[in-house]
Symmetry: C2
Subunit: 338 residues, 2 copies
Amino acid sequence: MPTNTQILLDSRPSDAATLSNFKLVTQETPALQDGQVLVRHHFLSLDPYMRGRMNDAKSYTAPQALGEVMGGGTVGEVLESRSPLFTPGDKVVGLGGWQTYSVVNAATPGALRKVDTTHVPLSYYLGAVGMPGVTAWYGLVHILEAQAGQTLVVSASTGAVGSAFAALAKTRACRVVGIAGGPAKCDYATTELGFDACIDYKQHTDAASLSSALKEVCPDGVDGYFENVGGMVLDAVMLRMNDFGRIAVCGMIAGYDGKPLPMNYPALILRSRLKIQGFIVTEHLDVWPQALQELGELVATGRLRPRESVAQGLAAAPQAFLGLLKGQNFGKQIVKLM
Amino acid sequence: MPTNTQILLDSRPSDAATLSNFKLVTQETPALQDGQVLVRHHFLSLDPYMRGRMNDAKSYTAPQALGEVMGGGTVGEVLESRSPLFTPGDKVVGLGGWQTYSVVNAATPGALRKVDTTHVPLSYYLGAVGMPGVTAWYGLVHILEAQAGQTLVVSASTGAVGSAFAALAKTRACRVVGIAGGPAKCDYATTELGFDACIDYKQHTDAASLSSALKEVCPDGVDGYFENVGGMVLDAVMLRMNDFGRIAVCGMIAGYDGKPLPMNYPALILRSRLKIQGFIVTEHLDVWPQALQELGELVATGRLRPRESVAQGLAAAPQAFLGLLKGQNFGKQIVKLM
C-alpha cells in the first residue's frame, strides 16, 4: 500500500490560527477490508468553516479532534476497490481530509460519490458544483427567495460561494452586486462573473462610507443579502435593506479568527422588518440533487466560470488556509495533491 | 361643541426625550360634517413605538409632525354622530391621539371600531384585547410558530405585550419564561400572569450573568424568543437559543431613547441556525379578528388578567410616557382622560 501524507491538528489556536497549529506526518495506508475502497486524492478543498472546527467550542459541527487528520472535502480517483459500488479509475468526491490517500467504507451514505468529468473539471466538484455552489443555491432560493427584478448583494463575492451566487442570481433576472477586497477582485466580479457592480470594501473604513457606496450601485435598495463576512460589511448592507428584506447568513469570516464582531444596528431588523436566517447546507441534503444539476449545467454551458486558487502539494495547505481566512485567495481555494 | 385639550409634539428630542418636547394646548372642537362622529376619549394608550415617531428619521411609521397632536390609540364613547355607522353612546376604539376629543370620519377603514364592554373592560381594548395583544399573538403564532412543550422567553414580560404573550403561550402548552425589571414585576409575572419563571435583569450587569440565570430556568434551552428590549437582554437570550430557534423582534426599547445598542454575538445566528424576524402588527390586519377573538376569550374567562398603570388626566401623559421608556410602568400604561 502507498505511503500516506497527512496534516493533523496539532494544537488549538488561542487567537488567530498559525502554522504551528498543524503538523505534517506520514504513515502507511492500511490494507483494504471488504466493502472499502482506496482513493488517491487529486485535490483538497479549503473552506472557512474549518476554522470554527479548530476551536474546542460549541459550533455547528463537532470540534476537530486534536492529533487527527484535518477534515475536508476531496476529489480523487479510486485506486483499489473491495466494494461492488466502485471500480478502479472512478472519479469520486468525498470527505477524505487533509491527506493524500483515504480508505473509505464505500456504502456509508454520503461518504463517496462518483462524478462525471466530461463537462465539469474534477476540481469543480469541490466548488461551483459542490458544497459551496449548493450553499449559494440554498441561500438564494430558500432564504432570500429571489424574484426577478430584485437587487441582491453577496459578500466575499469572488469566492466559491459568491461566484456561484452571481450566476444563479443572473439566471433568475436579478440585479446582483458584489462586495470584495481589492480592485482586481472587483474587476473580475464584473467582467467575468456577471456581477452588475462590485464594491471594494477595502476602500472604506467604516460602515457609513461603505453604505454610501452601496447606495450608488443599488438605487432601488437591497432586497436580499447573502452574508459571508459579518462585521462592517454586514452593518453597511443592513443600512441599505429594503422593507421586508431577507439576509441569509452563511458565514461571518471577518470574526472567525479573533474577537467576534458585533452587529451595530440590530434595530434595523425591526424598522425594516427584516428576516435574518442562518443555515448550514449539509442540513438540507434533500435539495442537493436539484442544486447540483443546475450548477453543473451552468458550468457546462459556460455561464459559470469559477476561478480557483491552487496551492501546490499538501505541505502548502496550512499556509493557503491561513491566507483564505485573510481573503488572500482569489476564487475557490484548493490544494493540488498530485 | 366642547373644548378639546391636546398635547402637541413641540420639539424633537436631541437625545433622550424630555417634558419640554411636549406642549399642552386647548382649542374648540370643530362642528361635525356629514359622515363624521364626535368621540369623547376615556383612555389614551401610551406605547413605546411613539418614541420612534418623535425623531425625524426613517422608521416604520412616518415621523410625528411637529406642532401636531401626538398620535395614539384611544377608547371612548360616541357623543354625536352624523354617520349611519355609529350612534351616540357607542363604545369605540380608534386612533384619536393625545387629546380629550376627536372628530372622526366614520367610514375611513380602521378609523373607529365599535366594541362590546360586557365581558371586557373598555380600557383593555388598548392593551390585552387591542394592538399589544395582537402583537403578542402574531409573534407567537406566525414567527415563533410555537409548539406544545417548547420553551419560550419574552422580555418586558409584565407589559401589555408580555402579559398577553404568557397567556397565549400557556394555552399552547409551552413553558414560558419572562424577563422583567425588579422583584415586584417578577413576582407578579409568576403569581398572576402564569409565567413558569421570571428573571430580574436588574440583578445582572452583563449578558453572561443574565445568560447563566436563564440557563437555570430553561434547562432545555430556548426555542423561541419574543424581543421587546434589545441590548444586553438580547445577547443573553441568544446565548441560550437552541438550534433552529426563532426570535420575533417586536421592539428594542432599551435603545429607543439614546444610542442604538449593538447585538454582540451575531455569529450565533449561523452557529445555531437562528431565524430572526422583525414585524409590525399593523401590517398584518388579516389576523386581527382571529387574534382579538382569542384574546377576548382569555380575558372573559379570567385566563388573562392584565395589569394597568393608569395616569390621571391628559396633562400627566408626557411624564407617564417618559416613565414607560424607563420601565417605570407596571403593566399596560394608559392615561385616564375623564
